[in-house]
């Protein structure tokens, strides 16, 4: 009985590291083909449009509400302890810090993991089960170069750009909320933002988003390449890609939080 439990745990741990190893190998393969990105610029630009431009409306929506909710929670907390007047000069800055370093990169990455990661897994998974990946191989086109590299590169490029937009609308969302609900003036708010946030915080957020984008696209491609079992397998891959990407984003965020 205990032996079986140990065996199951051992298999799980070995399976995890085997899978992690395969994802790292795919990452190495993708970087090996990055020098050919200019030659494959049409593919990279297509993916930048799919991942970036098409995701922008959703990112703006999520960003604006993220800022508003962060502002609501922060100001409510100060108001609860009758510290709002005292905290007024710090509210804008604290919202900016939490939005730039945490909320905007993580929430946007989770949204992109659902929208883009799942779609990458489904698209490549469908190609796998319908032998289109084999067809590429037969044309001497490496799937890592043709499918994975453009997606990973596009996600790494577009995620920081999406985060810049998300940051902007989040700050505006928070601004409108504190003005309408807590009677802040725009001078109160923006002076606080200017005084208390640093460029390093924005850069930290952008660095995180680049890593999250890479992880999401990489996992989407990896899961897609390992799809089998027809339509059901494709469905499972979509869910699996979102689950793994979300977990990877949170783990990477924790590592960033510890290291930076």
């Amino acid at each position: 009985m205990i032996g079986n439990i140990f065996a199951a745990v051992g298999r799980g741990v070995m399976g995890f590291f085997a899978e992690l190893g395969r994802i790292v190998l795919l990452l190495i393969a993708v970087f090996r083909y990055v020098p050919s990105a200019f030659r494959s610029r049409r593919l990279v630009l297509e993916q930048m449009s799919v991942i970036g431009v098409s995701s922008l409306p959703l990112v703006l929506l999520v960003g604006s509400f993220t800022g508003a909710i962060a502002a609501l929670q922060a100001t409510n907390l100060f108001a609860k302890f009758n510290l709002l007047a005292l905290a007024r000069p710090f509210v804008g800055g604290s919202i900016a810090t939490v939005v730039f370093t945490e909320l905007s990169p993580v929430l946007t990455a989770l949204v992109i993991a659902g929208r883009v990661g799942g779609s990458i897994a489904a698209q490549i998974g469908t190609m796998k089960v319908s032998e289109q990946i084999d067809a590429l191989e037969m044309m001497a086109i490496h799937p890592d170069r043709y499918l994975a590299m453009p997606r990973v590169l596009a996600a790494m490029t577009m995620m920081p750009i999406l985060i810049i937009f998300s940051n902007l609308v989040a700050i505006l969302g928070a601004f409108f909320l504190v003005i309408l609900k807590f009677n802040f003036t725009s001078v109160d708010y923006f002076i606080s933002v200017r005084n208390f946030f640093s460029v390093t915080e924005i850069l930290t957020g952008l660095l995180k988003s680049l890593t999250f984008g890479m992880a999401t696209a990489l996992i989407g491609c990896y899961v897609g390449f390992r799809t089998d079992g027809g339509a059901e397998g494709v469905g499972q891959s979509t869910v699996r890609s979102f689950t793994l990407s979300s977990a990877a984003i949170l783990v990477l965020d924790a590592i960033f939080g510890y290291v930076l």
């Binding site: 190609m127 319908s130 032998e131 289109q132 084999d134 067809a135 037969m138 044309m139 001497a140 086109i141």
Partner: protein, 273 residues
């Protein structure tokens, strides 16, 4: 020439191929038959290096496929056309893009050469009429309509033909067909069989065809190989296959013939009231 020597392949506990050895001569059509799950498609994928054998050797034109690195494999595949079971056309691309993707991705940008390749191969598979039979404008119009269609706009038979046309791009020495007539009606199946025969003779390619269709065997094959439970059960000419007293071979032929006869003898549809 392709030589397969004592090849074994398993997927987990399932032993798909167990010591398969055969030779495929140049310029002929070899048909591989057998029940589902006997390893026919696996054998084809082993020959082109899409899968690796557990043991044994596969040689194409004197070079060991199982020892080739990625670059050598890609070089070898440029001489091999592969028609996949479901055609495996790229859904997001037009017929023309599907045909010349390989050339384009390998740096070929000469539009007239690419267009010529598309045109020639669509004519070869009968999707476009002979240019001499139409006016220049008529042919250009027919070409434009077909070349710009997406795979979703084509019938099953047309998709298969586009798959064959794609396999012929770059004038390969070998063309492999994985169940080219599966899922097609008898008339379209016969057209595809005729196409395989024509291409083998006209373009002097070596063809390997996987099929369940015994009528395709008689139509297409110079040599027939029957796989049964991962081993070669029969290897000979179509006539030898037909005359074989082996019960497994006879059962395969009879069962298939019975299926076809049953289709032919299906009860007539009642008239409209």
């Amino acid at each position: 020439m392709i030589v397969i020597d004592n090849v074994y392949k398993s997927f987990g506990p399932k032993h798909v191929l167990r010591g398969v050895s055969m030779e495929i001569p140049d310029g002929k059509s070899t048909v591989i038959i057998g029940r589902s799950g006997t390893g026919k498609s696996v054998l084809l994928k082993l020959i082109v290096g899409l899968l690796q054998p557990d043991s044994g050797t596969i040689t194409i034109d004197g070079r060991r496929v199982d020892l080739m690195d990625e670059k050598e494999l890609y070089e070898m595949r440029r001489h091999v056309g592969y028609v996949f079971q479901g055609a495996a056309l790229f859904d997001s691309m037009t017929v023309a893009e599907n045909l010349v993707l390989g050339l384009y991705e390998h740096g070929e940008r000469d539009t007239s050469l690419l267009n010529n390749e598309i045109r020639t191969n669509l004519v070869n598979v009968g999707l476009l009429p002979d240019p001499k039979s139409l006016s220049e404008d008529g042919f250009a119009k027919a070409y434009d309509i077909l070349a710009n269609k997406k795979p979703s706009e084509l019938s099953g038979g047309m998709r298969k033909r586009v798959g064959v046309a794609r396999a012929l791009v770059g004038t390969p020495k070998y063309v492999f067909y994985d169940e080219p007539t599966t899922g097609l009606d008898p008339i379209t199946s016969e057209q595809i069989d005729n196409l395989v025969c024509d291409l083998t003779h006209k373009l002097d390619v070596t063809s390997i065809v996987i099929t369940h269709d015994i009528f395709s065997v008689y139509k297409v094959a110079h040599a027939v190989v029957m796989l049964e439970e991962g081993v070669i059960h029969f290897n000979g000419s179509p006539r030898q296959l037909q005359q074989s007293p082996d019960p497994v071979v006879q059962e395969f032929i009879e069962r298939y013939a019975m299926t076809r006869t049953a289709d032919a003898l299906a009860p007539p549809v009642p008239p409209d009231k």
